[in-house]
Symmetry: C2
Subunit: 157 residues, 2 copies
């Protein structure tokens, strides 16, 4: 059975990202999948991911929203075209811009839930809205403008 996890379908040469690459063994290795119309990543921070003791540093949340966003953008394009994530051509996205609003301190010792929703798909550009929540409380909101990676980055002419 095909894995539902977006990152399992990234072509090998673009699977080294610190945030989302399954081949980056020091990285965050996030896993994202659809739950209905939303994409979901669940992530437990490491103890070193602290800001002030007991809370997550903002850069981690930015990283999670970023990689969650580019993964969701790719998955949304496959879905839009009605094809599976392991069919060709492969899609990967890079971030053109990232915005994060920090609404409340995010506890460190908890599973963070990042939820994404496609705001817009237009040509090679996908805009994803995302939230971070812990035990049902939203602690951050973000938006990722993702652009389809040039095919040359994927190792094809």
């Amino acid at each position: 059975m095909t894995s539902p996890i977006f990152q399992d379908h990234y072509p090998e040469n673009v699977s080294h990202c610190y945030g989302c690459g399954r081949l980056n063994h020091l990285g965050l290795q996030i896993h994202t999948e659809w739950e209905g119309e939303e994409s979901v990543t669940r992530f437990r921070p490491r103890s070193e991911h602290t800001a002030i003791p007991g809370f997550v540093y903002g850069g981690l949340l930015a990283s999670l929203i970023d990689c969650h966003g580019t993964g969701t953008a790719a998955a949304a394009m496959y879905r839009e075209e009605g094809r599976s994530m392991d069919s060709l051509p492969a899609y990967r996205f890079v971030t053109a811009s990232l915005k994060v609003d920090y609404l409340a301190p995010t506890p460190l010792d908890a599973v963070l839930e990042i939820r994404g929703r496609v705001k817009e798909i237009k040509g090679r550009r996908v805009v994803i809205e995302a939230s971070v929540s812990v035990l049902g409380q939203v602690t951050a909101r973000g938006e990722v403008v993702a652009v389809q990676m040039p095919e040359s980055f994927l190792g094809r002419p």
Copy 2:
């Protein structure tokens, strides 16, 4: 002689941040100082900080801009009040919002230079504009809205 490095003056209990805490030994431990009207952080990414091979992942740049921004906000407040960074009361800032525009791929095997400039100081809120450049080429621009941390976070009543 007093250290010119902003992070050397953070109170101990708020020096554990993954991005900028001098006491977080697994973290990035950035160092920021003034160069005239600009604040500057120089940082060499680790090999695992990859996006696609050879380039830095966006979350690292977001983290650097974020912590560079909150550090610059505190330093700017001390400067505004004409007092040294090790005088009391101590200032630390948290991020209310972060925006990053990724303009070009950022090489991994290089020293990144983050430069910040105070756009606005108003009450407890400081807005910092920042750029990331490598060998003189700007690869990302960001803005951090930083808000002075409640005194209770600094371990005082």
